[in-house]
Amino acid sequence: MTGAKQATHDPPPGGTTGAERDEADLLTRFEALLAAGESVEPHDWVPDGYRRMLVRQIAQHAHSEIIGMQPEGAWLTRAPTLYRKAVLLAKVQDEAGHGLYLYSAAETLGVDRADLLDALHRGRQHSSAAFDHPALTWADTGAIAWLTDGAAVVNQAPLCRTSYGPYARAMRRVCQEEGFHVQQGYDQLLALSRGTPEQKRMAQDAVDRWWLPAVALMFGPPDTGGAAAGVGAATSRQAMAWGVKRHTNDELRQRFVDLCVPQARELGLTLPDPAIRWNPERGHHDFGPVDWACYRRALPGDSHCARRRIAHRAAAHREGAWVREAAEAYARRSPEAAGEPAA
């Protein structure tokens, strides 16, 4: 990894010192960096809106990684074979790791992981609503990995080149591992699809339930074309101007559908959208419009399952408080353990 030589958790000085300078001049320099395709680094001055957008996006992404551990984590004890148990453990582990990379990237913007977690637990920040669905059968772990992680890869691959350096570097690590998860989910569904009729039914049922969360919620609301685009379009335009995003939600959604259709065929499973068909003129698959009602239901993060996910997370945090306090107390008592030279 390059260029991360400064202490990445230092609160960046931008914003406060900026007040004394000519703001217009700073803005020009910032825009010149973006125009040159250079990466923005923690000590660079950035507009407040850029910082807020990144904090919100990176935190939401980090929260999604750790909340996303729950539906799959619930199946660790019931994995049908020891090989699948090992594979699932490694995957859930990667997700915890992704959460940590991303919280670390968010902290370079002057926020604290503890505060971000607190905001998640209090419902002031949210994870992706894609994970607010229960994992009902073993096949769900395959469907989540194939579809939800598959959507994540499509979404996230361009973020490896996002304008904010620490985020881009975190995303490069995340994407390497995430691509691998998609194959793992595909492999798992393939085994089920080729298994007994009961197993195949289980796989189809899981795909039926996880398709819409992936295609709708992982990409966000429609942001191109027509009046329906609304607020989504304005946010996307700003994110693209700042080089935070590189493609519209709808472009990425299309790319995802185009990838999934042939894979589903190979799997011998159907995607639950009767409108899916190849459109030779566009060179893409048509698919059913994503229903706005689906966002209205999901966005407040207020479903039964969403509440359970947050309660689970908050309880773990609360019940572990005494352990974290003990570690802090021990470090204070023992300077050597805390990494300070012994007196």
Partner: protein, 116 residues
């Protein structure tokens, strides 16, 4: 709300013969927990040769405001670059001095020393 555990920078040497490079940071209450977190986060795949953690507050970056006075002097001195001079034995061999291609190779210039 407590500030949470302190931050550590993590440096990994992937194998013998290479220098340590910065791979990211972790938060941990003490040095052993920092090493453990760094191991679980950055060394799950592959088997590194060595792992360092350094308290983030002990990394002292050149201030952004001082970058110009510090580094501007590197500009305008082409004779410091390897491709600037006629290559040895290149006279008459038709080789052109393709300067800038390799000049930037060490742009990453690790600021961290290899020995300890």
């Amino acid at each position: 709300m407590s500030a949470g555990p302190v931050s550590w920078e993590v440096f990994l040497c992937p194998r013998r013969g290479l220098s340590h490079s910065h791979v990211g940071s972790v938060r941990a209450a003490d040095v052993r927990l920092a090493q453990a977190a760094a191991r679980d986060l950055f060394a799950r795949r592959g088997r590194p040769q060595s792992l360092w953690v350094v308290r983030s507050q002990d990394v002292h970056a050149v201030l952004p405001d001082e970058k110009d006075p510090y580094f501007a002097a590197a500009d305008g001195k082409p004779f410091r670059r390897p491709g600037h001079f006629t290559a040895l034995g290149a006279v008459g061999a038709g080789l052109s001095a393709d300067a800038d291609a390799d000049a930037d190779e060490d742009a990453d210039g690790s600021g961290v020393s290899d020995d300890h």
